[in-house]
Amino acid sequence: MSVFVDKNTRLVVAGITGKEGQFHTRACAAYGTKVVAGVTPGKGGQKMDDIPVFNTMEQARKETGCNVAMIFVPPPFAADSIMEAASAGVPLVVAITEGIPVLDMMKAYHFIKASGVRLIGPNCPGIISPGKAKVGIMPGPIHKEGTVGVVSRSGTLTYEVVDQLTLNGVGQSTCIGIGGDPVIGTNFIDALKAFEADPETKGIVMVGEIGGSAEEDAAAFIKRNVTKPVIGFIAGLTAPPGRRMGHAGAIISGSSGTGQAKIEAMEKAGITVVRNLGQLGKTALELFPK
């Protein structure tokens, strides 16, 4: 099994006719994801490869029964596109777009929550259930079907972690990139809940970074509610305070958000924290049940 996306995923891509949208739509389809529709305003009636393009998300939903939306729309219009997908009743929206203004996302966030839709991202690599469906920009071949759930705030760092797991023979049930922005739809706790509830997931890898308190909150949640073994990693221990390290969310302000505080909270919650990134795959091989 897996969480959020699987063989039943019917994908619609917002921004399917753009350069990035086209490229990654093809990569998702090549991986085996059922891509059933695209949305680009003004290009309704056209086709991208064999995929029908619609003017609105509502039309796409009605005509194709799409149940997952992947957002590739440029930042100034992305929050609008996320809300359009939610409004059309698409139950899962995965927003890849990087650079959406925080205040736009805040409004979209409250809209999404009120409509009961799950949002993953924005500013994330997406989600993949190896061997079943890929909804995102991650390289498919580094993944391997298996029983470890991966949840991460990062993009390429997630690939590094997954690659090490795969090289050590540790397969993944689902890998979720929750995104590096201050406002995101799905947080660590949401992903942890899903992994805990999924009978096929036997262990969890959680990849965090400096800034905010999401990792501390997740650690407290794990202590109370998660029975499966968890490996943790925190990026940014050498980052100076007060500077935004690429991700808008990765900033240490005052004494909060430091890597040290996060590691302490995670270890207190019984999480095995890996300090040397190079050792993550091996640790997973030792710790997780076969």
């Binding site: 805040m106 940014g236 050498t238």
Partner: protein, 390 residues
């Protein structure tokens, strides 16, 4: 993006938020003229740099006469101001703000910022104004009053009342505060701010509420819709290399180590820096060329990180996935030739065509070493750093 106090006060003025009378000045003569035009003493001479802690560093002075004003203007303009936020090298003061002095009865603190934990806008105020607010928050959190505004609904007067009635105001001041809080919220939302802070916000003996200080940071992602704010950008206040990097959409932050590094993706870049440290060396920078990383970006990134004279070795860590390593390798070789590479470079790359990429690097005749994984790369580059020291 950060702006100066005098620029933030220009925006305050636009929203009818009370500020002291005053004007910015870039020369001694201009500043003297502003002081004279105020027609009253005392006046306050304030250094305009982006860092906080200016008062403690000697960058803010109260002058009781024209002669004293001139003395302070000459003293502050051109001085190297060192505060806890500038780093030990300090910042040269190139601009002043000269303002009327006020009869201060009480100093307060007020701030607005996004709260990422619940995706709302947080308004904070405290009677402990004029102090280091981090310290107030840590030692006496009960003195920091907070209210949260749902941005989808917008600011409501009760939000301001919730603050005002916990701050023990005179009824006259309460009224002014409620109006001001609404205007500050409007400014915050209209201009996509990421932080708005007034420390201190003062109540004068005449019972007027006035923003004595003003600090605003903006969401970089929203600057495309605020051309007037972009004009406020002061490149003097930013690191020259960081400015250069931002031209190419490269995220570069200078640090104080000697191992330059270039990585695609912010999370992996931070983790790579950490790994360098674990291996016993120290990173000279944070450099993220973006998840995609084209050959051109690699070239620009390479040039930028090598212009830091402290760099004794370089680690390149690119997790391509979709990116082809032969293209990346060609980019690195081209860049290395152009910048006349003199320091050793360790490269760890992952993606399609790794073997071809490796071959290109090895046959280039340049001091390029290929590492098999991230730890191997960190150890190799740490060995280089150690050698450089001896």
């Amino acid at each position: 993006m950060k702006i100066h106090e005098f620029q933030a006060k220009e925006l305050f003025k636009k929203f009818d938020i009370p500020i002291p009378r005053g004007k910015a000045a870039f020369t001694v003569d201009e500043a003297k003229k502003v002081a004279a035009e105020l027609g009253t003493f005392p006046v306050v001479v304030k250094a305009q740099i982006h860092a906080g802690g200016r008062g403690k560093g000697g960058g803010v002075k109260l002058a009781k006469s024209a002669a004293e004003a001139e003395k302070y203007i000459k003293q502050i303009l051109g001085m190297t101001l060192v505060t806890h936020q500038t780093g030990p090298e300090g910042k040269v003061v190139k601009k002043l703000l000269v303002e009327e002095g006020l009869n201060i009865a009480k100093e307060l603190y007020m701030a607005i910022l996004p709260d990422r934990s619940n995706s709302t806008i947080l308004l904070m105020a405290s009677e402990a104004g004029g102090m280091d607010i981090e310290e107030v928050a840590a030692k006496t959190p009960e003195k920091l009053i907070k209210v949260w505004v749902n941005p989808a609904v917008g600011f409501q007067p009760y939000n301001a009342r919730a603050l005002a009635y916990q701050l023990n105001f005179d009824p006259e001041v309460t009224k002014q505060f409620i109006t001001m809080a609404g205007k500050l919220y409007d400014l915050f939302m209209k201009y996509d701010c990421s932080l708005l802070e007034i420390n201190p916000l003062v109540i004068t003996k005449e019972k007027k509420l006035i923003a004595l200080d003003a600090k605003i940071n903006f969401d970089d992602n929203a600057l495309y819709r605020h051309k007037d704010v972009v004009e406020f950008r002061d490149l003097n206040e930013e690191d020259a290399l960081e400015v250069e990097a931002s031209k190419y959409n490269i995220n570069y932050i200078k640090l104080d180590g000697n191992i330059g590094n270039m990585v695609n993706g912010a999370g992996l870049a931070m983790a790579t820096m950490d790994t360098i440290k674990l291996a016993g060396a120290s990173p000279a920078n944070f450099l993220d060329v973006g998840g995609g990383a084209s050959a051109e970006m690699v070239e620009n990134g390479f040039r930028i990180l090598l212009s830091d004279k402290n760099v004794k070795g370089v680690l390149i860590n690119i997790f391509g996935g979709i990116l082809r390593c032969d293209i990346l390798a060609n980019g690195v070789v081209e860049a290395a030739k152009k910048v006349k590479l003199t320091v050793p470079v360790v490269i760890r790359m992952k993606g399609t065509n790794v073997e071809q990429g490796k071959k290109i690097l090895e046959e280039s005749g340049l001091p390029l070493t290929v590492a098999k994984d991230v730890w191997d790369a960190a150890e190799k580059v740490a060995a280089i750093a150690k050698k450089a020291k001896n």
